[in-house]
Structures are given as C-alpha cells and as structure tokens.
Amino acid sequence: MQHNIDTAKLTIGLITSSVASIFSASASAVAITDQLNQTHTFLYLNLPIWVFFFTVLLLSMLGSAASLLTDIYTSDMDQRPSVLQQIFHLAGGFFSGIIGAFVLLPALTDAASPPIEVMLMTALVMSFSGVVLINNLGDLKRDKELQDSVRKLLISRVSWLANIFTKGNGDR
C-alpha cells in the first residue's frame, strides 16, 4: 500500500515538473518573440530585428542565385554542372551564407553585437563564395586528371624548395 502511495506521489511530481517546464519554455518563447521585435536603427528607420534576420536569409539566397550568372554556370562547355549538382551547390552556398553571418561573424569578431550592414555583406559574400568553392572542390574530387595534375604540381614545388634548402646547406 505504501508503495502505491509513493508511486502516485512520484507520478504527480513528474507531471507537475513537466507542466512547469512547458510553461517556462512558452515563457522563454514569448521572451524571444519580444527580443525579435526590438527595433534597431538602420538608414534612419527603426526596424524590428527579425526584419534584418529575414534579410540575411534573403541575401544568402540572392548570393547563391547570383553565382548562376558567372562563367562557371553560363558556359556552354562540357564542364558545366548538371541541374542536380547546381541545386546541391545552391543549397550549400545558402547554408554557408547563413553560417557565415550567424556563426562565423560573431565568433571571429570581438563585437558583442555585429553591425547589421556587415551581417548583410557577410551573408551575400559567403553564400556566393560558398557556391563557387563547392563547385571547384566538387570538380577536384570528381576529376582524377585534375587531382593528378595538382598533386604533381605540389610535389614539384616542394621538391624545388627542398633542392634550394639542401643546396644552401651544401654550399656552407
């Protein structure tokens, strides 16, 4: 009988704690919404912060889409990536823009709150650069000839440097 009472007490305790955690989570969600509605001055306008975050997402899309206008994707050669690869590159560029603006920028700068215009520039540049780099690295991974030529080039440069140093030591 005592066991049953203890179990019931434990169950009631668990239920109350879970209800409390749900309430605290919803309260923190409200707090986040309040914080996102804080206004920030930009170009003489007092705009809520969520507008800037949304603009970062939009510029990430724009930057990755703009890379489709470069010679890599507009050339009519055989090297042009397929549609599936292009979609993959665009998604990668979009995520690199978001990571650049929301992760790299706060991590690599000392400012507690990075300026909005730099966040926007970072999203634009990182998304564009991400697409180009992903395309180049993907081509390097697929193309065996390119890998061999890069490897040969690196080996020849390293051996050239080693020759210079060993000759220098020999002369002494």
């Binding site: 540049v125 650069s129 780099l133 180049n136 081509d139």
Partner: protein
C-alpha cells in the same frame, strides 16, 4: 575658411574593403573576364574572403586601430588585385582571339 578634407586616411581605410569586393564582383560577372578556370575563380573568391576579413576587422574588432602602414598594405592589396584583373582580361582576350582564328581556319577548311 578651412575646407574640410574629404579624403583622409580613415576614409581610404574604410573604402578599400568595399572597393575590393566590388572589383571581385566585376571580375566574376563581367564578360571581359573569363573565370571558367578553377584557379582563377578560387583566387577571386579567396580575395573576397580577404576583403571580408578586413571589413570584419574594421567594424568588429575592439583592438584594431588603422595606421599608415595598414592603410598602405590595403592600397597595395587593391593594386595587386588590379594587376590580377588586367592579367585575367589579357588572357581572356588572347583566348577569344585564338578561338576566332580556329573558327576561321575551320570555315576555310570546310570551304576548300
């Protein structure tokens, strides 16, 4: 009455990253510069990262103070980028001339 100095060292310091990013955009999007080669496009993108890093240093760093030396380095970086642009434009021009000559030779061959 003293005239205000419009272009001072601070202005040059602030302008150079935006100028560099603009030059990168010109190379990547203009038809005069062929960026189909992997090395060229990678180089331009890396230059873009350099300019972005300098922009971060300007606005995001609490320790970076621009001096004449850093401004001189930035200007030299812009100059090196300008030389790179000339190089890419020159090679693009040469390759397009070669292509048109090859096309002419093929047309003459087909006529003969």
């Amino acid at each position: 009455m003293e005239h205000p100095i419009i272009i001072n060292f601070q202005v040059i310091n602030n302008i150079t990253p935006y100028l560099g990013l603009f030059m990168c955009a010109v190379v990547m999007f203009s038809g005069r510069y062929c960026t189909n080669r992997k090395s060229t496009s990678t180089l331009i993108v890396l230059y873009g990262f350099i300019w972005l890093g300098l922009l971060w240093a300007d606005v995001g760093s609490t320790v970076f103070v621009p001096s004449r030396h850093t401004i001189l380095a930035r200007v030299l970086l812009v100059l090196s980028m300008a030389v790179l642009m000339l190089d890419i434009a020159g090679s693009t021009k040469r390759i397009s001339k070669l292509k048109s000559k090859i096309r002419e030779f093929r047309e003459n061959d087909s006529k003969n």
